[in-house]
Symmetry: C2
Subunit: 207 residues, 2 copies
């Protein structure tokens, strides 16, 4: 039995969904709130498996709310609900911890389907958002500064807090040898010092 909470300011929306969801024998709506504030006062969220969270709410928005929810109840699944599809807000909500999202115009069958997918560890979302999400986590391909293997190694060492001396020992080079490479790293990354180099180059070094 999947226990659902709904946070949604529109009364008809809330009750419509409740009616639809309670028709399914594996789903049970255990609580409904018209705002994040209300939901946080109650303790029902603790008993919830999955929350349907409207993205646009008066007061604390869903985008902010999901952050709090995930902090307090990391295991609960949060699906954002939104009017429009290709939306920067959806993206932000996902960054803040949402597990997926669905559109308000979804059919009852799709709603139940999305909930079941999410409950089993999936993330329902449209392809458009999926593309955005993917792009944001891909290694940036174009401006890939070509650091040599040694340079990457040294940059990694710097990121780990090693001194030039420690680095020299680690890769069997003189301190000035290390310095030679570091100078080249700074030039390539246009960095003034090791911190800036690490900040700029950390995405280019292998984990």
């Amino acid at each position: 039995m999947i226990k659902i909470s709904i946070i949604e300011d529109n009364k008809y929306m809330r009750e419509g969904w409740q009616a639809v969801l309670d028709l399914d024998s594996n789903i049970c709506v255990i609580a409904m709130f018209e705002s994040c504030e209300d939901a946080f006062k109650s303790d029902d969220l603790a008993k919830t498996d999955l929350i349907l969270l409207d993205i646009q709410l008066p007061g604390i928005s869903g985008i902010e709310g999901v952050k709090t929810i995930k902090q307090r109840y990391p295991d609960v699944v949060v699906l954002m609900v939104t009017m429009h599809d290709d939306n920067e807000r959806v993206f932000e909500a996902l960054r803040n911890g949402a597990d997926g999202y669905l559109l308000k115009k979804v059919t009852p069958a799709e709603l139940v389907e999305a909930i079941k997918i999410a409950n089993e560890g999936g993330s329902p979302m449209t392809p458009n958002i999926a593309r955005k999400v993917i792009q944001s986590f891909q290694k940036t391909p174009q401006n890939d500064v070509d650091l040599t293997a040694v340079e990457k190694l040294i940059l990694k060492g710097l990121a780990n807090g090693l001194s030039y001396k420690a680095l020299a020992e680690e890769i069997h080079l003189s301190i000035d040898g290390v310095r030679y490479h570091i100078r080249n790293i700074y030039r390539k990354l246009e960095a003034k010092n090791s911190s800036e180099a690490v900040a700029k180059g950390i995405d280019y070094i292998d984990p």
Copy 2:
């Protein structure tokens, strides 16, 4: 007209898809290869809108191949093709630049649908992979070291290569005031110097 190239070692698979796709008046298969090596020798990929790329290939795998493809032709859309769904390899391919993926057992209608979605800027994928992708880019919620606003500001300054002096001027504090905060940053992040602090804390500072 969407121009498609197929890289797939199984002959029947290749030709089956070609037959299916060419039935659609908006899709045209312009080239087929049985390996990445072959594809890279030819110049057909340059004229391609979308590539169907088998994830498991002899020689250069699709996971590696997509990297090369995206380097050479950043604008081409790459869809990975895979046997199994919940797969670490799919995940790696997406990290390397793939725009989506579909299963080999996909129906002709779904195949055409996925291609059209991808061509219009979407990313077809199953909810399971979507969840993985989302998780990998969410801000890590639990181990969020609580840096104060000033500490974040200073860490950001360090990441930008500022010296203590420059930082002091920027935030109207004495150099020793800056040092005071930096010491606290090092303690909280367990860092020995600014590079390590930047490496460890860069995810916690606001962009």
